[in-house]
């Protein structure tokens, strides 16, 4: 079911991105917020919709795979988990808390005119460029610290996977129905046009399985940030860029019916230009139009200096962390985790630890809150 015509691929990703942008904006589905608020405010209510999103994704991915709708399993963008996956997750988690958003929430907030998020966006691009300078070190670190030489938990035991997926789907459905009876899904919010997070979770899961079927793999976005950075660096210091290994190699290489699909962060038109890039543009466009329709688009100016610094540094950490780990929360939590890919599991541990550290830093340094 894979779309191989680049323009179709571009259009599909743009459309999926626009849907995501609108949904993320309306529901304020900020994954940074979900994890951060657990540590910062002991607020757990949004974790439910994340769990819903993961369980639906798991079931849909599995059905799509067993029905033969998916071309690649495991997705060619995945690799073996290493300590770099864990460490990148820690750096990313810290950055996400400090900047006030992840790679997607930064986009949808920026699209509504928020300058703090724009600064974080610039930080992410800067962080990606900083990574490119140290890429050879991390590449050898990754190779030396591989944790497991398999991609996914059930790679060699498909029967076990079937049992686990079935049992988990049924078990969680029972739990979800129980929560429905207890009216635990509804989130009270005043924002105009608010989309309940559980509805957002269902839409996001459907978008992701559509991406997997038609676009080749579950959604990802951070290589697009690096690519954008590469285009910018190529304008100012092309001679430097030409020497950087990271921008001269592909991060995805897949043989497909005689030809090869490839793409990477370099300033070239390749598969990333038809997948991640339009997805990101779509998210910004979708969120922008939604904010205009709700009459909420407005530029209010810059936040206090400490918050601005936190957004910039946080953005850089996100850029560095995602490149070290080779992915972000979108790729790993929304895609890899429901596929039981080990990178997703390892990244989650790192990200949660990083979120905890980020909350401490935010309290002590940015807001100078002492004690509890």
């Amino acid at each position: 079911m894979l779309l191989t015509e680049p323009y179709y691929l571009f259009a599909l990703n743009l459309l999926l991105g626009a849907v995501l942008g609108a949904v993320f904006y309306k529901s304020d589905y900020c994954m940074a917020g979900v994890f951060r608020d657990v540590f910062l405010f002991k607020q757990y209510s949004l974790l439910r919709s994340l769990l819903l999103l993961l369980v639906i994704s798991m079931a849909l991915f599995y059905v799509a795979r067993t029905a033969g709708l998916v071309t690649f399993y495991p997705p060619p963008t995945y690799t073996y988990p290493s300590l770099a996956t864990l460490f990148g997750g820690v750096v990313f988690g810290m950055g996400m808390v400090l900047s006030g958003g992840c790679v997607v929430s930064t986009l949808y907030k920026m699209a509504a005119g928020n300058l703090t998020s724009l600064v974080a966006f610039a930080g992410i691009i800067a962080g990606s460029l900083m990574y490119a300078e140290s890429h050879p070190f991390w590449e050898s670190f990754r190779q030396r610290t591989v944790i497991a030489t398999r991609m996914s938990l059930f790679e060699k035991t498909p029967d076990v996977e079937m049992v686990v997926v079935t049992a988990m789907t049924i078990g969680f459905l029972v739990l979800f129905v129980k929560w429905m009876r207890q009216d635990k899904w509804r989130i009270d919010a005043f924002a105009e046009g608010y989309l309940q997070p559980w509805k957002a979770a269902i839409i996001i899961a459907i978008v992701n399985v559509l991406a997997y079927i038609f676009s080749g793999w579950p959604i990802g976005i951070t290589t697009a940030y690096a690519k954008l950075g590469a285009y910018i660096e190529n304008i100012f210091i092309p001679s430097r860029l030409a020497t950087l290994a990271y921008f001269n190699q592909d991060s995805v290489v897949v043989p497909l019916s005689g030809s090869i699909i490839s793409g990477g962060a370099g300033p070239r038109v390749d598969v990333i230009s038809f997948t991640e890039l339009p997805l990101g543009i779509g998210i910004v466009a979708g969120a922008f139009f939604t904010s205009v329709l709700l009459r909420e688009f407005k530029i209010y100016g810059l936040p206090p200096r400490r918050q601005l610094m936190a957004a910039l540094v946080g953005g850089m950490l996100i850029g560095l962390g995602t490149r070290i780990a080779k992915g972000c929360n979108i790729k790993f939590i929304l895609g890899a985790l429901p596929l039981f890919a080990l990178q997703g599991i390892v990244f989650l541990f790192g990200m949660v630890a990083g979120t905890y550290v980020g909350v401490l830093l935010l309290k002590r340094i940015v807001f100078e809150i002492k004690g509890e």
Binding site: C30, F41, N114, S117, A189, A191, Y300, P304, I369
Partner: protein, 82 residues
């Protein structure tokens, strides 16, 4: 109650969790005046997330909360619980 003092807090352009942290700090700093009804706190925010988190926290701290949308932003009024 006519001379009730209004404390304005403008956090337009700020994102999470700054919005909530700043709001909580302001509520704590003016706790007595807010509790006695001498003053009310009016927060201006454009951050949709904060229209959920700030009222939640204010209610948990025992205040009355009113929210309305003003043009492009939201105004959250925190006052003494009746």
């Amino acid at each position: 109650m006519s001379e009730r003092k209004t404390i304005d807090l403008n956090i337009l352009g700020q994102v999470c969790p700054a919005c909530l942290l700043v709001a909580i700090k302001e509520m704590n700093n003016n706790r007595n005046e807010l509790k006695s009804g001498e003053a009310e706190l009016v927060i201006k925010t454009d951050h949709r997330y904060a229209t959920r988190t700030i009222p939640d926290s204010a209610k948990a701290m025992g205040f009355n909360v009113d929210i309305k949308k003003e043009e492009t932003y939201y105004e959250i009024k925190i006052s003494k619980r009746q």
